[in-house]
């Protein structure tokens, strides 16, 4: 195995350490000086309305976008410059990124297993296919699967390398309630069983309440709340996270309307 990137004092660095992270597109700050650290094994939800900066933050965590200033470190590696040291320890899932449609499920898993250097590929694919109820459809083209089946394939792909850091972008979007619940259960089992650190971007507040240990709420590229779901609900005096989200979003909208 590659040596883990370690800090100067010899301690293992946190899975995610973000410091003064800023991304400016032309004159617009999509992310504006955010700082946070994620503890190993924690599930953290990134919340915010459209344009709050969630996708840009996630993209910088994956090294797909280079920050304008500040840094995003994953397992100690600066993702702008040395992402290849740690990419094999991460994975991600998003309904907005597909795997090749013409390839069968088995072929897709085979290709990604090779890209991630998964050992004992055949056994791993068989095991994860069984876990995600994909065994019967391994030889069907991905493009011919239903939305729920595709999500299961994407999750199987995301867990092929047993990532220590899992980045999930709306993992249950467009799924029926039953399938969405099944997916959440699978994620819970994986994360607790593997002590995986998870960054979850979602608009589904019930999902966040169920899965997340911590909520980081973004607005206009800044962190406006960073606490546990219960603390957030209590602080706003609301019944659930959905109401908290709406209260913050409407407050922001009123502020914007009232501004000159």
């Amino acid at each position: 195995m590659q040596k883990p990137v370690s800090q100067s004092n010899g301690a293992l660095p946190p899975p995610v350490a973000v410091r003064e992270l800023t991304k400016v597109y032309r004159d617009v700050a999509a992310v504006n000086g955010i700082t946070f650290t994620l503890a190993s094994g924690a599930i953290t939800a990134l919340l915010g309305g459209n344009g709050a900066g969630k996708t840009t933050t996630i993209s910088m965590l994956m090294g797909l976008v280079v920050p304008t200033s500040g840094e995003a470190r994953v397992f100690g590696a600066d993702m702008a410059r040395e992402r290849h040291k740690v990419l094999h320890r991460m994975n991600f899932e998003s309904p907005y990124v597909d795997v090749p449609m013409r390839l069968t499920v088995r072929q897709n898993l085979e290709v990604f297993a090779r890209l991630y250097g998964v050992l004992d590929r055949t056994a791993r694919i068989a095991r994860i296919a069984e876990e995600f109820r994909l065994t019967e459809m391994l030889d069907r083209p991905y493009g011919k699967l239903s939305a729920g089946q595709k999500t299961r394939v994407s999750l199987a792909k995301a867990l092929l390398n047993e990532p220590e850091l899992l980045i999930l972008d709306e993992p249950t979007a467009s799924l029926d309630p039953d399938t969405a619940d099944w997916v959440r259960s699978k994620l819970e089992v994986y994360c607790r069983g593997h002590a995986a650190t998870v960054v979850l971007a979602s608009h589904n507040m019930a999902e966040v309440e169920r899965l997340a240990d911590r909520v980081i709420m973004l607005e206009a590229g800044r962190i406006i709340a960073d606490e546990t779901p219960d603390e957030l609900i209590n602080r706003f005096g609301r019944a659930n996270l959905e109401e908290v989200f709406l209260a913050i979003a409407r407050r922001g909208a009123e502020g914007a309307e009232g501004s000159p």
Binding site: M1, Q2, P4, A11, L12, K23, Y25, A30, S40, G41, T55, T56, S59, M62, G63, L64, V65, V66, A80, H84, L87, H88, R89, M90, N91, F92, S94, Y96, V97, D98, V99, P100, M101, R102, L103, T104, Q107, E110, V111, F112, A113, R114, L115, Y116, G117, V118, L119, D120, R124, P141, K157, N161, E162, P163, E164, H194, A195
Partner: protein, 284 residues
């Protein structure tokens, strides 16, 4: 299962990523992905052969007709058909490279690839390998039919053919690098660039006529392009039976420069896409 000493967590069941073997395994994995695509669709495989076949037949019949009416054409048997086969090596190899990359954008898979441990040079290596595979799928049947229909055996060019082939495919990869770099930076809006870039070389590289035919001011530009030496070399062999080693050395030297420049352009646009955020918007 291995344990991470500090955290007590299981280490991921993946191989050491920093070795040459791991790098080759990733390249092979991506080549496999493109091979599965070719294999999954016979129309795609047929399409690889279709245009080179049409071109070869058209120029072959034209040459047969001219040979009956012109002493030059009769003497230069194989000139047009040889030129069209070599031209198609350049075109098919460049398109094979660029289209394999475009597949990732069309299938919205680029994010997965860029997020995987695959490195940029490994992506390029896989595209190079795929372009070769597609080229062989296309050109072996067409070259065979050229022999059957027109009695033109491309292998009769001997060692020169290997040099022609190598110089043309290296140039095609340089063009592929530039075109995929442009698509990386500007997205599918620049897709047509990937399809068309190679065709500017058709008139300038003097595929069917000598460099001396070009206007005086255009000749230095033609001579700065490696394929020009290949087509000059073909004419020298067919018309004069001349040795073309010096032409191939010049072409190769230029190719080294072009490939280095192509990779630099690709790397620059990739980094530019990461700065501008276009990498995560691909396909949208």
């Amino acid at each position: 299962m291995r344990q991470s000493a500090a955290s007590g967590r299981r280490s991921p069941p993946v191989r050491d990523q920093a070795t040459v073997g791991a790098s080759l395994a990733r390249i092979y994995g991506l080549v496999l992905r493109y091979w599965y695509v070719i294999r999954s669709s016979w129309p795609r495989a047929a399409e690889l052969v279709y245009w080179p076949l049409v071109q070869m037949l058209m120029w072959g019949f034209l040459q047969s007709y001219l040979a009956q009416t012109s002493s030059f054409a009769a003497k230069a048997a194989g000139l047009f058909i040889g030129a069209v086969l070599l031209w198609d090596i350049l075109v098919r190899s460049q398109l094979g490279f660029a289209v394999a990359f475009l597949e990732e954008i069309w299938s919205r898979n680029l994010g997965h690839l860029m997020m995987s441990p695959l490195r940029p040079f490994e992506l390029v290596a896989a595209l190079v390998a795929v372009s070769l595979i597609k080229l062989l799928v296309a050109m072996i049947p067409v070259a065979t039919l050229a022999y059957v229909f027109f009695d033109f055996n491309v292998l009769s060019l001997g060692f020169a053919f290997a040099a022609f082939f190598a110089n043309l495919v290296i140039m095609s990869w340089s063009l592929g690098l530039v075109s995929t770099g442009v698509v990386l930076r500007w997205g599918l809006g620049a897709e047509s660039f990937a399809w068309l870039i190679v065709f500017i070389f058709l008139p300038i590289c003097c595929v069917y006529y000598p460099v001396a035919t070009l206007p005086y001011w255009l000749q230095p530009i033609a001579l700065a392009l490696p394929p020009t030496y290949v087509f000059e070399g073909l004419r020298a062999i067919v018309l004069e039976g001349a040795v073309v080693g010096h032409l191939m050395v010049k072409a190769f030297a230029l190719n080294v420069l072009y490939f280095a420049a192509g990779f630099a352009v690709f790397a620059y646009f990739l980094q530019s896409a990461r700065i501008n955020g276009t990498l995560v918007q691909m396909g949208e």
